[in-house]
Amino acid sequence: MQIDMREEADITVCRIKGDVDINSSPNVRKFFENIIKEKKKKVVVDFSEVNYVDSSGLATLVEILKKMRVYGGKLKMANLSERVLGLFEITKLDKLFDIVNGEAVKNFE
């Protein structure tokens, strides 16, 4: 699994490549430590190259959201495949996260 990050105006886009599972989710957590430290306010996680997220990956994303909420940061999940969206839905996390596609990615208002 790899993550690359780019800034688009005031939005931080983190693109994950590969599966987010028990082996890789500690790396996702570590990667986001910096984003949280810098108090990035508008963050998008791009899942277009993710096939599978297990419950450790989902829990890691929940923890990131919790920490971002403390300083008023907003987090969006973008471009989820049907399978990955299904994994969010099983645990009702589709209701917790802002899940977006296309242009909505840029709309943080």
Binding site: I22, P26, R29, S55, S56, A59, V62, E63, I90, T91
Partner: protein
């Protein structure tokens, strides 16, 4: 219609010509079973038919006298302990007795495999525990001790622990034993729900006929260490095999004998 197609579906467990003897006694006598990915496969049979022994072979706890067992493509009968442990991380096991640690809270019991086998952060594990307990309908119970919850709830905690590591296959040993009919139905529904939602393969060992018919995609009927028949619930229900029929109907009369011959008994007393 059967939702599986034997030709195209992936086999995740294959038992080939499995024989197991304890001393002179043959407990498993040439078992052949293929279990497909995503199905709920029930191993059914009366007490002492060898079904729990078969389960213990499939999960690698017992070694066969002869034959092979492939679990997710690995021959586990000949696997070393280290390789077995790696495979075991991908399977979940729900025990008959729930097997919870009395001194640990519900949450600690569910998180145990995560704390032992992963490097996940404790905050992440805490969130995972909440997610797993939600899946088994026990949200908010994490701080209670096993002694403070009912038998049915304990079974559900055992289930939450079995799925803690997101296993590909979950094994259930007599999941409804000792439960009242309503709680049995709750557990049955949970097994079906979890299996569907999490796309897991489920292998259930039971003699609870009501449960078998409610959950199984396919059933293997075991008798005296042999597979009598494998089929869908409908196929098993309509079986012409008198042994299967007797078991399905729970009748006293039939080819399955409950007593040894009179002479044997008298011989034993006087011998």
């Amino acid at each position: 219609m059967n939702k599986f197609d034997a030709e195209k579906d992936e086999v995740v467990i294959e038992v080939k010509d499995l024989v197991r003897k304890f001393g002179d006694r043959v407990v498993l006598n040439g078992i052949n079973i293929k279990i497909r990915k995503g199905e709920i496969f029930v191993i059914m049979g009366g007490s002492g038919c060898g079904k729990s022994t078969l389960l213990r072979h499939i999960i690698g706890n017992l070694k066969p006298t002869s034959g092979q067992i492939f679990l997710m493509g690995k021959d586990i009968a000949s696997a070393e302990e280290a390789a077995l442990n790696e495979i075991r991380k991908k399977i979940g096991m729900s025990f008959q007795s729930s097997a919870l640690f009395d001194s640990m809270t519900v949450g600690e019991n569910v998180s145990l495999p995560l704390r032992e086998h992963t490097k996940l952060n404790k905050n992440v594990i805490e969130i995972m525990v909440k997610m797993k307990l939600e899946l088994v309908g026990l949200r908010g119970f994490e701080d209670l001790l096993p002694s403070e919850i009912s038998g049915g709830m304990k079974k559900r905690v055992g289930l939450a622990r079995a799925i803690a590591m997101d296993p590909q296959i979950v094994f259930y040993d007599e999941p409804t034993a000792g439960l009242d009919p309503i709680m049995s139905s709750v557990i049955d529904k949970l097994i079906v729900d979890l299996s569907n939602k999490l796309s897991m393969t489920s292998v259930v060992v039971t003699h609870d006929m009501k449960s078998v018919m409610a959950i199984a995609d396919r059933i293997a009927m075991l008798y005296e260490g042999r597979v009598l028949e494998i089929g869908t619930p409908d196929e098993i229900k309509n079986s012409k095999n008198p042994l299967v029929k007797q078991f399905i109907n729970g009748s006293f009369d039939g080819p399955i004998s409950f007593f040894q011959e009179k002479e044997d008994y008298l011989d034993q007393l006087t011998g």
